[in-house]
Symmetry: C2
Subunit: 355 residues, 2 copies
Amino acid sequence: MKSHNFYAGPAILPQEVLVEASSSALRYEDGLSIMEMSHRSKPLAAVFEEAERLIGELLDVPDDYKVLFLTGGASSQFYMVPMNILGANQTAGYVDTGAWSTKAIKEAKMFGNVNVLASSKDANFNYIPKDYEVPSDIRYLHLTSNNTIFGTQIQDFGNPSARLVCDMSSDIFSRRIDVSKFDIIYAGAQKNLGPSGVTLCIVKKDILGKVERTIPTMLNYETHIGKDSMFNTPPTFPVYVCLLTLRWLVKNGGVAGMEKRNQAKADLLYGEIDRNPLFKGTAVAEDRSKMNVCFELIDDSKNEAFLAAAAEANCIGLKGHRSVGGFRASIYNALDIESVQVLVNLMQNFEKKHG
Amino acid sequence: MKSHNFYAGPAILPQEVLVEASSSALRYEDGLSIMEMSHRSKPLAAVFEEAERLIGELLDVPDDYKVLFLTGGASSQFYMVPMNILGANQTAGYVDTGAWSTKAIKEAKMFGNVNVLASSKDANFNYIPKDYEVPSDIRYLHLTSNNTIFGTQIQDFGNPSARLVCDMSSDIFSRRIDVSKFDIIYAGAQKNLGPSGVTLCIVKKDILGKVERTIPTMLNYETHIGKDSMFNTPPTFPVYVCLLTLRWLVKNGGVAGMEKRNQAKADLLYGEIDRNPLFKGTAVAEDRSKMNVCFELIDDSKNEAFLAAAAEANCIGLKGHRSVGGFRASIYNALDIESVQVLVNLMQNFEKKHG
């Protein structure tokens, strides 16, 4: 029996993606597994071309951007971004909305000046700061669109006066975005795009080549742009699974379709959290994430009982991150609303028993 | 029908590994695909622990070393090695044996002094330089154990007077090695270890932390040592397939078993190359690789005819790299001698028809 998968990442993938990935892991072309084929072979070249094209179509990526498949996760983009586009005497603005942005700030300081424009650390990152000034002379403004650990999400990027760089690891492809506002968008694949082992970067090409420092070849975005993500041997199977997920996205209404689907799931779950007298949400309501729903029992002595009930209902991955506690239900694109309903039923049964 | 897979990498994997990988890609535990499970879950922690342990056992890795699973391929180690262990005023010795070592030299120059002690560039890298002096004051001597493109291989590391750093991407696990001679061994997984998307590093721990420069967190080996390769989300599925391959290695006699098996395959194929009047090997005989067998037709106007005959015999991936031309048969651990025999038969039939 298949569990209801609420893992924060690596996370749920669409069932039809798994079926096809499993089949291709055994046999793809010429009787070979896709894992044992050269990245220079025609079938693999076709995989990369289609994946890049579908991302361009799904997110309406302008022509002067390049879609890249890299490795090393968002954690590697924390330093690659400033290494490539922040001059030693330039300043970047960062908004600190949790563990990941804190790490991004730490790495950026190795390359230039960092101005932390706002932070929600004062309230354990349970909200998204909004009323901060953006200095006119910053090279870029770095944002984290969704904070997996704390369950907050930027609802609207507005019309920022600075160029944006954004870590979208945990909500890319979950809603429509205007790529033209961003100099760089990056995202670890392992939430809405595919399995772990690939990092998606969408880079505005004309911002590159302007810093003076020496950049190792593999760390220069221009290297990968010039070779269509095939400068070195790329993670072929993870990229292939991303392609299957992208095809599923297209078939299911694209990002607009996902946005609608995700809103319905979030409404259902937050509705129950707000209704059920035993539970409360941990994030400020207007900043609640539609990807990672963080909540807790008002009486936390019942935590273990709730997790045990969850296990019995085949709900996996609900334990909250240690820095927040309580529970976290990650409800990424691939999760069906039926799984959210199972969780809601679980909360209602828990109320009947313990309320 | 399964083809005979001579791809240089990503390359052939054992059939039983593919069967199990395919199954786990669909369902592993709790009805979930292994790709959609958290790297913090118990099953994934067990995968990483066992993979690390098996590598330690197979290569007899001393206790003061750490086995790491990183990403970015050998191409990323080209800069990570000097960034971590070569001081700005120190000198490293490099032996230039082909395209990959040339790239390693280029990256190392960004961090310290590089002394290219020997090169076989004068003969299109068709041999391994041997009679060069190793200065006593170099920080390390960098070698490439096997040159995938040119079909040469270091047969014996001898007793070097310097500490060694070695790119073993294309022959690790193919033969016994004495790890204690090396400060760092690195290898892209996609030849003898698994699919692309993982890089194996074996690092002597006490060499770290001695350079003055600022190192981004993700690029510091110490970061990954401290977190058992789980500082960030690792490429879980590729590492899992590596584990399956490691188990296959253990079951098939370990590296000593592979060494014997690889010797038999190499003897068979080089025997035919030397016997058949239509063909000749491109590498100097004593430096011939047991992993990548490079050869050519003496009359190269028949190249297309040979490749067509190969395709008809379901032999895949035999076209030589453009910088050498001719043909290349990669005969990694997982390739059965039966596939080499098919190639030998093909060469003999070609002789009958065109000789």
